[in-house]
């Protein structure tokens, strides 16, 4: 796999409490505070963390949909490295053809006054890429790939269910044949059966169209299913980043342990034994000294209170920002109770009358 995107030391600080017209801001919300990672072409990188951890802001900053306060974004396109931060508005708009976004709420992200055909085709018209029958052909092709009924393209979004609307939103995002998609809680608002449809659709499209995803979600089970690697955010920084199985089964950061041990597994024979976090999450305006997690970490030592742990490669591909990653033995997902997976769950068949 080749590298698609590399971000280095991205920061997004929002000023708060401006005093007067020429006044300086009273402080900054450090929503994203120095994040670096790479995304390989064709992979899905998950981004998880609790509300307020900065994951949505980061997702937008990567596309410069929110202007980062600092840092570098380098995107590999057609064999050249494009410095996204150096682009002017026009250059950025041209790059956005290759970088798209899918949002959580399929109810508010579609214009209610446009037919589905127009919603999906609008990016082609806006970018002057197709018109007439070519436009219509591309819309129909993408609608079919996304599992929409072509006969319904003349209808308005309100006539569709939540799952169908998310398919429309996906078709619109993919109509320009982008390479990189930021999925911001793309399946969070959907019912279980529909969520599975959309996750499968995203996986199929990834193979068909060679897509790369940054998959932002708070549902850890869905992330585990969808992603090759997962990054955990806490208070605007990456706490840990690793291949999915490594992160879920053998986490190295105490915050990841708290997350993973708290996933309620849909198996009554496995009783959850979560590691509870004490205290409240500190404000991103005024993060604690040393490790950002030290105020709630049960393993914290003096070193954690004074020195900031750097994100470092603990094992190949497994990065962690914790001073004590080597000494700690942490609980992963599924380490509550031991029970074999019931055999019937592996086969979707039903045995009548048993």
């Amino acid at each position: 796999m080749s590298k698609l995107l590399k971000i280095t030391d991205i920061k997004v600080h929002f000023p708060i409490g401006k005093a007067g017209f020429f006044g300086r801001p009273a402080g900054y919300v450090r929503a994203v505070d120095g994040v670096s990672f790479e995304i390989q072409r064709g992979e899905t990188l998950g981004l998880v963390g609790e509300s307020g951890s900065g994951k949505t802001t980061l997702g937008r900053a990567v596309l410069r949909a929110i202007e980062p306060t600092g840092g570098q974004i380098v995107y590999e396109h057609d064999g050249t490295s494009v410095d996204i931060m150096a682009l002017d508005r026009k250059g950025l708009r041209a790059m956005w053809r290759h970088m798209q976004m899918i949002f959580q709420d399929p109810y508010s992200s579609l214009n209610p006054r446009m037919t589905v055909r127009d919603v999906i085709g609008e990016p082609l018209i806006a970018n002057k890429l197709a018109k007439g029958s070519a436009l219509s052909d591309r819309v129909v092709d993408m609608a079919q790939r996304c599992g929409l009924d072509v006969e319904h393209l003349g209808r308005f979004p309100h006539a569709f269910s939540g799952g169908q609307r998310q398919r429309i939103a996906i078709a619109r995002a993919l109509i320009l044949h982008p390479e990189f998609i930021v999925c911001d809680e793309a399946v969070s608002a959907l019912d279980v059966s529909i969520q599975a449809q959309i996750l499968n659709l995203l996986a199929d499209l990834q193979v068909q169209l060679n897509l790369t995803y940054l998959f932002i979600a708070h549902d850890l089970a869905a992330v585990a299913y969808a992603c090759d690697r997962v990054a955990v955010m806490y208070l605007g920084q990456i706490a840990e980043i690793a291949p999915t199985e490594k992160l879920y089964y053998t986490p190295k950061h105490p915050y990841t342990e708290a997350l993973m041990s708290a996933i309620p597994e849909a198996d009554p024979s496995r009783v959850m034994q979560p590691v509870f976090l004490t205290g409240e999450r500190p404000s991103p305006t005024n993060p604690p000294d040393g490790c950002r997690f030290q105020t709630r970490c049960r393993y914290a030592t003096d070193a954690c209170r004074t020195s900031i742990p750097k994100l470092r490669e603990h094992a190949t591909g497994h990065w962690v920002a914790c001073h004590h990653a080597e000494e700690l033995t942490l609980k992963g997902a599924l380490e509550h109770g031991v029970a074999a997976r019931p055999a019937h769950l592996d086969s979707p068949t039903i045995q009548a009358g048993t």
């Binding site: 279980v192 850890l220 309620p264 849909a266 009554p268 997902a333 009548a352 009358g353």
Partner: protein
């Protein structure tokens, strides 16, 4: 009513008044809640689980109406059971029970607290209203309640306003308010859905402790099968206003028999086999609108076991697979008949 049954719903029908037309929303559901147990009503949006929970306390909005059925409640005082359906909607009797013997918690804790009053005043109000306590007594009891639900520094928290609480604290605050009158039944409508996973774990632990220590009975409404597995004793799976399958949690998760239950359990991402990256089994199509309810078994257009002229002709009757496991599906009725021959 049986001995340890505290709340019993029998053949409950609820309709939506849509411009004078009656649209069925809940179509004859039955369940029992035993003392000290947690019953989960599970289903996707539109299945009628929230409407059912509101009907239990006669809290339905005006356009929804109970058309028939019984909701029998056995109060702790040992008197004869009361049928809520027979009571006046906002009468004195139901108001005495609501919030007092049966309390309710909701998904969004911010909307169930007034922003203008302190947490202490709002919980204290419930105590003073129902228990006729003095201001000082109410305050002392409130501090005790806040402590019980795990709010740090309760003596200070009692004078704080809801905006000063985080999401998890507000949810605990709401549980404290619900517990104010020492109810025997708690109805929890998606109480952890809006919470982060670590906070969800804390709230589930709190509810579990209430059950274990105080013998609280709960009706838990959720769409999250993971949460169900972790908290429920009994499960009722709902689809378009009917209970399609019901039984103890181990039985429903370990031996599901309705095609809908099986599909739901297969559709959730699981953590056991991350290396496999298997395709999730989804259910085709989506839940139809209330106005386009399929005839017969409402699940038949999405069901892989659909049998023509049977599933689409009439609703499947209840089949008792065992004394504890019930299902509404023609697959099992057919099997039952064969066994009888």
């Amino acid at each position: 009513m049986q001995n340890d049954v505290i709340l019993e719903v029998h053949n409950l029908h609820i309709t939506l008044d849509f411009d004078g037309e009656d649209i069925p929303v809940v179509q004859g559901i039955d369940f029992e809640l035993s003392a000290g147990k947690v019953l989960a009503l599970v289903g996707e949006s539109g299945c009628g689980k929230s409407v059912t929970s509101q009907a239990l306390l006669r809290l339905l909005p005006r356009e929804l109406r109970i058309t028939s059925g019984q909701i029998n409640f056995q109060a702790a005082d040992g008197q004869a059971p009361v049928d809520f359906v027979s009571l006046a909607k906002d009468g004195k009797k139901i108001r005495e029970i609501r919030g007092n013997q049966i309390a309710m918690i909701f998904q969004e804790p911010m909307s169930s607290f007034s922003v203008l009053h302190t947490i202490g005043n709002q919980i204290g109000e419930v105590i003073r209203l129902h228990l006729k306590a003095s201001k000082a007594e109410a305050r002392a009891l409130t501090v005790e309640l806040l402590d019980k639900v795990g709010i740090p520094d309760p003596a200070r928290a009692v004078d704080q306003y809801p905006y000063e609480f985080s999401g998890g604290m507000r949810q605990r605050g709401m549980i404290a308010k619900a517990l104010a009158c020492n109810p025997s039944v708690l109805i929890a409508d998606e109480p952890t859905t809006a919470l982060d996973v670590t906070i969800q774990a804390q709230v589930l632990e709190l509810l579990r402790r209430l059950k274990a220590d105080d013998g609280m009975s709960m009706i838990f409404i959720t769409h999250d099968l993971g949460v169900v597995a972790q908290i429920a004793d009994d499960v009722a799976i709902m689809y378009m206003g009917r209970i399609v399958e019901k039984g103890p949690v181990g039985e429903i998760f370990g031996n599901p028999q309705h095609p809908y239950t099986v599909s739901l359990l297969n559709a959730i991402p699981r953590l056991g086999d991350l290396s496999a990256r298997r395709e999730l089994a989804s259910i085709r199509g989506s839940v139809p609108s209330l106005f386009e309810r399929p005839p017969g078994c409402a699940f038949h257009p999405r069901c892989d076991s659909f049998m023509e002229k049977l599933c689409d002709a009439q609703p499947p009757p209840l089949t008792r697979l065992s004394p504890i496991h019930e299902v509404r599906c023609f697959l099992h009725q057919a099997a039952e008949k064969e066994a009888a021959l």
